[in-house]
Amino acid sequence: MPFLRKKTLALSKKEALWTLPIRNPYLEWSKNEEGEAVIQIPRRKDWVGKVLSLIFNPPEKRQLVLDKIGTMVWDLADGEHTFEEIVRTIKKEFKLTRREAEVGVAAFLRELGKRKLIVLAVRKEEKNEAKRQNI
């Protein structure tokens, strides 16, 4: 039913470029010998997780190992770098075209967002900055 639908924040492309990806602060993560980020994802604590754990007995935490590019994005998702800055860094570092970097980073962040590993923050002043610079 339409009135029960969750409201989502609609951002224009300009605004999306100024969002700040932030790692979920409750997650434990470290780097392995290859320098790749290893994220510890805890088991779901909701009723679905509880039911599934009764059936499958999964471990308390599972690991997600990110590749070189993923690790770089993860490192930059510290709330200090905007999406635009991350795209620029990835483009330069991996010699990609702007579009390739943008699509890749967006898809990766979307995936992390779905798993609640990151959130996207929008600062009011940055939103205004985007408007001011008219980009």
Binding site: S12, K14, L17, K68, K95, L96, R98, R99, E100, V103
Partner: protein, 299 residues
């Protein structure tokens, strides 16, 4: 004339346009008529839109094509309940080209746009192009003037996302994969010739620790099942390259007359990209070498 940043060429299905370097293809139309391409700036504030009819119906005239296009803009403005200011006129003399019959137009609502529509007397195409957006760049009119609707050399430039290759006009695009990190363009040519151009970005990830020649060998073997293939290594533009040529085999390695396969791949370390070219044809033709030479890998 207002100057734009460094320009780069975008080429798609016989249309070539020069846009600022950081602009990229955002949308492409299929084989339907008209064909379509849209190229966006990185911030979503302006774009170039080109629509073209390769073989327009004899009844289609410039004015009608323009009217139907402007009707869409009018409809959008009505929907948003905003006023629209439209202007259209015959191209001023400095925009006229002897091989084109041109109309120019401009519009302004919550966005604005300037554009041209023309009939090319040489190739017969009707092309409609506009630069539009909330903040159109100062050199918009220059972008429009760079549009070419046919090739002078008999080869079409296919250029997008940093890949540039020239393919003979008689080859038609049969398939495309435009993914972040991987581009593939497949073409069908005369005498059942099939040509595939591929580019892998972030090659290091695809090589996964293997040497390029080992990666290429295993890739060639996968692609040449049913063919007797002979491989050779060489240097191409200062890069290590691997080539392969073979004929279809029926029993064991006994070559039979029939389809041939040609493969060529090189690794451009400067750009960390792998290029791969594959051709299947009834007879050995020079096109393969010409296409290979036309690919730009690093500047």
């Amino acid at each position: 004339m207002a100057q734009l940043k460094k320009l780069t060429k975008i080429g798609w299905r016989g249309i070539v346009v020069e846009v600022p370097e950081d602009w990229a293809v955002a949308s492409i139309g299929g084989e339907d008529h008209p064909e379509y391409i849209r190229i966006d700036d990185p911030y979503g504030s302006s774009y170039v839109e080109i629509k073209w009819w390769v073989r327009p119906k004899p009844t289609l005239i410039l004015e009608d094509a323009l009217e139907s296009f402007l009707a869409r803009i009018e409809k959008e403005a009505r929907k948003k309940k905003i006023s629209l200011n439209l202007r259209k006129k015959k191209a001023p003399p400095y925009l006229e080209r002897s091989d084109r019959e041109t109309l120019v137009f401009s519009w302004r609502s919550d966005k604005k746009g300037i554009g041209r529509v023309w009939y090319c007397k040489t190739c017969g195409k009707i092309v409609m192009a506009q630069v539009a957006g909330t903040n159109i760049p100062p050199g918009a009119s220059h972008i429009l003037s760079t549009i070419e609707d046919h090739s002078q050399t008999g080869k079409n430039l296919w250029a997008l996302y940093g890949l540039q290759v020239e393919i003979p006009e008689e080859f038609k695009l049969s398939d495309q994969k435009l993914l972040a990190g991987y581009i593939q363009l497949s073409f069908n040519g005369p005498h059942k010739t099939r040509l595939k151009v591929e580019r892998y970005s972030i090659a290091e990830r695809f090589l996964a620790g293997y040497e390029f020649s080992d990666w290429a060998k295993s890739e060639f073997i996968k692609r040449s099942r049913g063919f007797s293939l002979s491989l050779y290594e060489e240097s191409f533009r200062g890069h290590l390259a691997l080539g392969g040529k073979g004929k279809r085999k029926l029993v064991g390695s006994l070559p039979l007359l029939g389809e041939i396969i040609k493969l060529y791949s090189w690794y451009c370390e400067q750009e960390d990209k792998i290029f791969l070219l594959e051709m299947r044809a009834k007879k050995d033709i020079m096109i393969f070498e010409e296409v290979k030479e036309s690919i730009r890998c690093h500047s």
